[in-house]
Symmetry: C2
Subunit: 266 residues, 2 copies
């Protein structure tokens, strides 16, 4: 009553905000949580949380363990997430090409895009799937340290780059991560010149990654593909071959995207 609401944005629905916040907390904890622990985590009364959870449960957005009564993320999120990803043309276009690349090179192949100032991994194909690479589909990483990110950053104007840096800074994930604007600008210039980007242990020590842009029909770059592996497997002759095949793959994907453009919504 005294003040207007803090955020200038009008009319958000409290109970929906709270319900979604509960989902965020459950996602963050990444496992089962008791109603009570959720309740004290967010600081709302148990009964309030209970009502919200019951509603989410009815829609299968959360799942309640039959024995323990604990709550976790529900199956509907899996279904909706998959449905959403199926609606993206880029996956249709990129998947067969990535599959071939993964087999021929025997290394991990990834596809990413920029979302909200970060790299979002859309697809990952691993040859043996035993190797553990930090990035997973649906995960996010800063742009300035990943190969995919550098490719997309390299497309930006100086102003956009500056706003990226001022937004999240240049946090270091390893000692090799680029952390100054000057070095990043130099790196991006090289990316533009070479036509590909490299992450040399800047996310995870010992892991190297090369990435190239995917051009769409309008001449802009919204996606990038990459190949990553242990540094010993990613050098010399072999590296050159990888880059060559990667660039060819990107061209194929770009082409496939173009031919997929003839779709309209119903």
């Amino acid at each position: 009553m005294e003040k207007k609401r803090k955020t200038g944005r009008p009319s958000r629905i409290q109970s929906v905000e709270r319900a979604l916040t509960l989902l965020e907390v459950l996602a963050q904890e990444d496992g089962e949580m008791t109603l009570t622990s959720l309740s004290q985590k967010v600081g709302w009364p148990k009964s309030t949380v209970h009502g919200l959870l019951a509603t989410l449960r009815d829609f299968h957005y959360v799942d309640q363990s039959a024995e323990t009564g604990c709550y976790k993320l529900g199956i509907r999120l899996f279904e909706l997430g998959n449905q959403l990803s199926r609606s993206w043309d880029i996956l249709d276009a990129a998947h067969p090409v990535m599959l071939r690349l993964c087999r021929e090179l025997g290394e991990t192949v990834q596809l990413g895009t920029e979302d909200d100032g970060e790299i979002l991994y859309l697809e990952k194909l691993a040859p043996n799937s035993v190797v553990s690479i930090l990035s997973e589909v649906g995960n996010r990483l800063p742009m300035h340290c990943s190969g995919l990110g550098k490719v997309l950053l390299a497309q930006k104007s100086p102003g956009e780059l500056k706003s990226y840096i001022s937004r999240g800074g240049l946090p270091a994930l390893t000692k090799r991560t680029i952390t100054t604007q000057a070095k990043l600008e130099k790196e991006l210039a090289r990316v533009r010149e070479q036509g590909y980007a490299m992450d040399d242990g800047e996310i995870t020590e010992g892991l190297r990654c090369v990435a190239v842009p995917i051009w769409d029909g309008t001449g802009s770059v919204r996606y990038a593909v990459s190949v990553s592996g242990q540094i010993p497997n990613m050098g010399g002759e072999r590296l050159e071959r990888i880059i060559r095949e990667l660039q060819q793959a990107a061209e194929e994907i770009s082409y496939a995207m173009g031919s997929r453009r003839k779709r309209m919504q119903t």
Copy 2:
């Protein structure tokens, strides 16, 4: 004021119910929708729908097109869905084995489980990914017509089977679909005897699928794997080989699941 609430279940939060209903509608339409069309679809005033959508948008559960202002499912669903699937042990255990199977046989390999009386597809590996098979990851199909479903149905007691039938009936997807209880019981007996199930064009004309159960440590069956392909490629000698390899794969997955059991939550 007049009546109590229709459903006996207590205290569901209306605005959360409405917000989630909007997501369901957006998922069903599978594309962009205008606020107005959403509004009249659900029958609530525009301003009400607007508030709900604004809240969902803030959390990236819906996305609003910059140009058209239309709404669609948001990226957070993709992220949460993938995070959820990563928490399932079965995928870790099954994926490498499925990958090998897919390569060796050159056919589509799928993994499914029962959820809410239907088969839910958890993973799908296609050799060329050009072939279009009806089922997709995150999709659902009736149990009585799919190979995966028959495997899981075959584990049920007569009472459970009856309740399955009375719940959803035995709808026919093709002219070959089993639609009578007697035939289904006979079919399931054969499944138990043979150790595998077959779908012979019962979902899609011309498509055959063989499936086997995955046993967990406790001796129960919660998942099943299958191989599907065009009927000409799935007969005679080759079929026998497929079944043999499939059964071996299922054993490996079962074993891997067991060894993964030594995990506790933090």
